[in-house]
């Protein structure tokens, strides 16, 4: 299912976010845990499922593949999608402020 600008899943958002700094599968899970302040422990099935999908949709690319490990990075399209999603989330947070009043 290709990405059409609809709300991202949490997994997709955090993988795109973590791959702003190129990384490989091994460290990606740790990076996601770190970038989400320990809130998200992503399963390896989900991780590779999302990586496959994002690659197909050209939102991430493989920077380097030495046969043993692949280094992934967010593409320009991926970054644009991420920023759009970030704006959407910011709007949502802003709209939700009435709950604090």
């Amino acid at each position: 299912m290709s990405y059409s600008g609809s709300p991202m899943t949490e997994a997709m958002y955090y993988i795109l976010l973590a791959l702003v700094n190129p990384n490989h599968g091994y460290q990606l899970m740790a990076a996601i845990e770190e970038v989400s302040n320990g809130r998200i422990k992503m399963g390896p099935g989900t991780l590779y499922g999302v990586l496959t999908r994002l690659q197909k949709d050209n939102l991430i690319e493989i920077l380097n593949d030495d046969g043993r490990r692949k280094t992934y990075a967010t593409t320009a399209d991926g970054r644009a999608a991420l920023e759009a999603e970030y704006e959407r989330l910011k709007d949502m947070i802003r709209d939700g402020r009435i709950l604090e009043g």
Binding site: T9, A11, G49, K70
Partner: protein, 361 residues
Amino acid sequence: MGKVVKRLMLDDIYAIGRNESWFSAMASKGLHLKKFGHLFVSFEKGEPKKTKYRIDYLEKAPSQEQLDVYKDCGWNFIANNGYFYVFSANEKSCATELHTDPIEQGFSLSELNIRLRNNLITLSIAMLLFLGLMISIYCFNDELYLYMIKGQFTQQMLLMIVELHIFYSAIRNYRITRNLKQSLLRGTDINHNEDYRKARLLGGISAGIFLPIALFSIIIPFVGIAKSEDYTLPEGNTYLPIIRLAEIEKSPNLMRETSYHDKKVDWANRVSFDWSLMAPVQYEIDEHGIINGEMWGDKSGVYSPSITTRYYKLTLGSMADNLTLDLINRYVWRDELWKRENRGYYTAAFPKADFLPGRNG
């Protein structure tokens, strides 16, 4: 390595939760999954262990790096069947769940769902063509009963039952995958402890019915080929159900005349035996002779009579009358006027039709 135990794969491979639950139940009995095929699943005997299994749908074979990451998270690759990869983890280990996002897992099943839908469409078209062919064979056949007693009929019927079953399985698998995808997209996780007993029982019953039918429909033509034989009709006494030429001609000068003759069989004086489920004894017997010194009525040559006998022993006696009409239609030449005048004659003439001598020439 422990003893390998095989079990039939009675459930659908697409029923992910049920199969995971079955593998876990087997592991708790000391049977640990080794191989995962379409027909059989192999287990290795060992100590009973509480094991979690997860079936992951991967369109691309996982890289070593991917398998290493899975392993680091506590998931060992066990076996795969096509795109379905099975991983296991010790129940006590605190392995991170393989899939932590049902919606993403739902996306991963989308392509499978599309493929199964396309398969179903192709299969539906094939089924329609097949059914159309069957209907046209049976509805527009002038000699339906003659066709039915020949070998292909039973095989075609059995094959149709098997094909309808395959078609139903394709519909069921498409529905299983579609429902699973939809429930994942709604955010509901796969139930890894889904009850598998009922589905396996039903699968067992249907395999018990349809595997023998499929096997039987494959064997039938071979039995037919094995039982069929051609040989030269002996000149002396036979115990065959026929009237001999000599009994009709009653001429001491009657001699056998041979014609086309290959290594074994004189085709003018031959016995052909065939077998089918609907008519387990079928003879087609030709005899040809010559009476030197006698001429045909029109003086066209030496009198050389022939006789052909077709004998059928039917499984269902009630088919006899209609078969008789078909045989007349096929082998007895009449002009249209004769047919109109004698309509109904043959049903009265051959009330019991399991013995049918016919005369040519």
